[in-house]
Amino acid sequence: MAPLILFIEDDERIRTVLSLSLQRDGFAVAEAGSGEEGLAAFEARPPDVVLVDLRLPGIDGFEVTRALRRASNVPIIIVTAHGDSHDVVAGLEAGADDYVVKPVVAKVLAARVRALLRRVSVGEQTTTVVRVGDLEIHREANVVVRDGIELPLTRTEYKVLCALAEHPGWVLTRTQLLEQVWEYDYFGDERLVDTHIGRLRSKVERDPSKPELIVTVRGAGYKLAT
């Protein structure tokens, strides 16, 4: 079955043409013209990915992202006209997984959606449960458990954790994380990594202000404490 994309965008022309392109690329698209409509559509028919424009009349894209994130771990891509501004960081902090900048190129958008939907390959690792500190990563079920309770990680956060857990104690640069998790090349936006590490810490660290599990290595990147 084709993955369902919920596309929340107030500009009808953009919505129409990008929907057509995405459909051609093999996705099913549900359209919404406002934040309110989008949230209602999400309730009615949970999508696999949400695409949301940040500048919406009424409930804006940031609010929609926050509301969706409270309710679900669905991958969210924000659409912004300002790639360099604080909009991107604010959107990512609100809970978005990735972003695209207008003018949006349909092929790029489709590639982004596919990257987000890609599951973590279990690979050649023989163990299906990886222990990191007091966490258990159940690789086949794609869940992280602590003290018998499943942690509410988004798919992207889970991927970041898995990438770090692959080589505990080794430093992964931001570029490496961008390649492994988001499938970006050398020029991916490192702010993606930093905001996701921040969110991940708030979920897996006992004290997120003093991270003991995911450690920042100044000038290099991040590593998982062993």
């Binding site: 057509l20 300002h82 360099d84 050398y186 020029f187």
Partner: protein, 464 residues
């Protein structure tokens, strides 16, 4: 490149600075006043002391003359004895003329020591006095006729002591005048420093504003009130204007992004069905795609440069391995190019914004693509604590007269009068200059060996 006036730098000076002039004026004033005071003081002291001394000498001579007369009045007194018995104050010489003969208390002093006019006046029966020089030293001579003993009594009072007193006074006054001059100069320096301080502050703020920090203002200053107000007002208007212009360009390009998305995605969609189109339809789609790409780039560049102008472009400075960045950028560019990172530059780290540095190189490669059919070689090397990134091509080269101009916005060179099918936005090199400047670097164009041109970006290297 914008020729901003270098407000922070030193301007050429054809005359001494205000500070020097103020200090000199103060010094000269102090010198004039103190010298005048010293001269008047000296003149008054000289006059006063001299007249006092002359009066006392005169009185003493009369007293001595009376004593002399009384001693000589006794019948058995001899003049020589009387003369030698006279108790004389120090520095006083006595001469007596009696019966045309001269008697003196000192062998060194004779009638020749006295001026002839004085002698003749006294010998004519009139008391007289006169300032004279005795053996080169100032002295005061007094002559009194004493008819009762038929003698003429003269005394010469040395004024050497007075002169040495005056000399000491002169030295003290000269020293005081010199001290006052030096003090005045120092005072002038201090005052001028205070005077110039607000001007220095103004220059500093003007320099920062010229460098793009438009939110800088002068602090209120009691002395420069109107100037500060006018200056701040001017900067506020300037800021408003620049921000309005920048906002206009940003808003414009921003507004264009939505229709561009629609148009671009629509053409992509049409292109996906190109097999269904007749040949001329396909040509039209290709043209449309190329033009939309160009338009999109232009909007992108316009937005970018307006953000730079508005100072809104964030410069996120992270350590960047420059060789690696150049290799990645060149590899991602549509037209293939050889990259040579010299061993000396291999580990060079630049403090920079990866995305903007990428834009610099991409724009240079695009420029080579448009004007020279692509870059022939990109190399990275170390030179004098900096890293040089060069993009060479085998194109027609850049006229040296245009070497600066091509970094201006929308500059179309003489050679580029015709529009090629792959014309740029006209902002590419201007953005290169802006981004490089934001990294404290520089960019230049020079002839490449073997023809063509070579664009060289120089960036400071982080020393570890």
């Amino acid at each position: 490149m914008r020729p901003w006036p270098r407000a922070g730098g030193r301007s050429r000076r054809s005359r001494p600075s205000l500070r020097t002039r103020t200090a000199l004026t103060f010094g000269l004033g102090a010198a004039l006043v103190s010298t005048a005071v010293a001269l008047i003081t000296y003149a008054l002291a000289d006059h006063e002391l001299l007249s006092q001394r002359q009066n006392s000498s005169l009185r003493q001579t009369y007293v001595d003359a009376r004593l002399f007369k009384e001693e000589l009045a006794s019948p058995e007194a001899r003049l020589e004895d009387v003369l030698s018995s006279l108790a004389r104050a120090n520095g006083v010489q006595v001469l007596v003329n009696r019966d045309r003969l001269w008697f003196s208390t000192s062998a060194l002093v004779g009638s020749a020591s006295l001026p002839a006019s004085l002698v003749s006046a006294v010998l004519a029966g009139h008391p007289a006095d006169q300032r004279i020089y005795l053996q080169g030293m100032p002295a005061f001579a007094v002559g009194i006729p004493i008819p009762s003993v038929n003698a003429y009594y003269f005394e010469i009072h040395s004024l050497a002591e007075l002169r040495s007193t005056l000399e000491t006074l002169a030295i003290v006054l000269a020293a005081a005048a010199a001290a006052a001059t030096v003090g005045g100069t120092l005072l002038g320096l201090g005052a001028s420093r205070r005077l110039v301080r607000p001007l220095a502050a103004t220059a500093r703020v003007a320099g920062e504003i010229a460098a793009g920090r438009l939110d800088q203002r002068l602090p209120p200053d009691a002395d420069l009130g109107p100037l500060v107000d006018a200056f701040n007002d001017m900067v506020a208007r300037l800021q408003e204007r620049i921000e309005r212009d920048a906002r206009f360009a940003a808003d414009l390009s921003h507004e264009l992004r939505s229709p561009l998305t629609t148009v671009g995605a629509s053409v992509e969609l049409v292109d996906a069905y190109r097999q269904a189109l007749p040949a001329d339809g396909r040509t039209a789609v290709d043209l449309l795609k190329a033009e939309i790409d160009r338009f999109s780039d232009m909007v992108q560049d316009l937005l970018e440069i307006s953000r730079v102008d508005a100072g809104a472009e964030p410069v996120e400075l992270d350590p960047v391995l420059i060789g690696e960045l150049v290799e990645h950028t060149a590899a991602a560019h549509p037209s293939p190019v050889a990259v040579r990172v010299q061993p000396a530059a291999a580990g060079s780290v630049v403090l920079g914004d990866k995305r903007r540095l990428q834009r610099v190189l991409v724009n240079l490669l695009d420029n080579a693509q448009v004007h020279a059919g692509g870059s022939s070689l990109v190399w990275v090397d170390r030179r004098d604590g900096a890293v040089e990134i060069a993009v060479e091509d085998h194109g027609p080269g850049v006229d040296p007269a245009e070497a600066e101009l091509i970094f201006e916005r929308f500059y179309r060179g003489k050679a580029a009068g015709r529009r090629s099918a792959v014309a740029g936005s006209g902002l590419g090199l201007a953005l290169v200059a802006e981004h490089v400047r934001a990294h404290q670097g520089s960019v230049r164009v020079e002839p490449a060996p073997g023809g063509g041109s070579r664009f060289v970006v120089t960036l400071p290297v982080v020393t570890q």
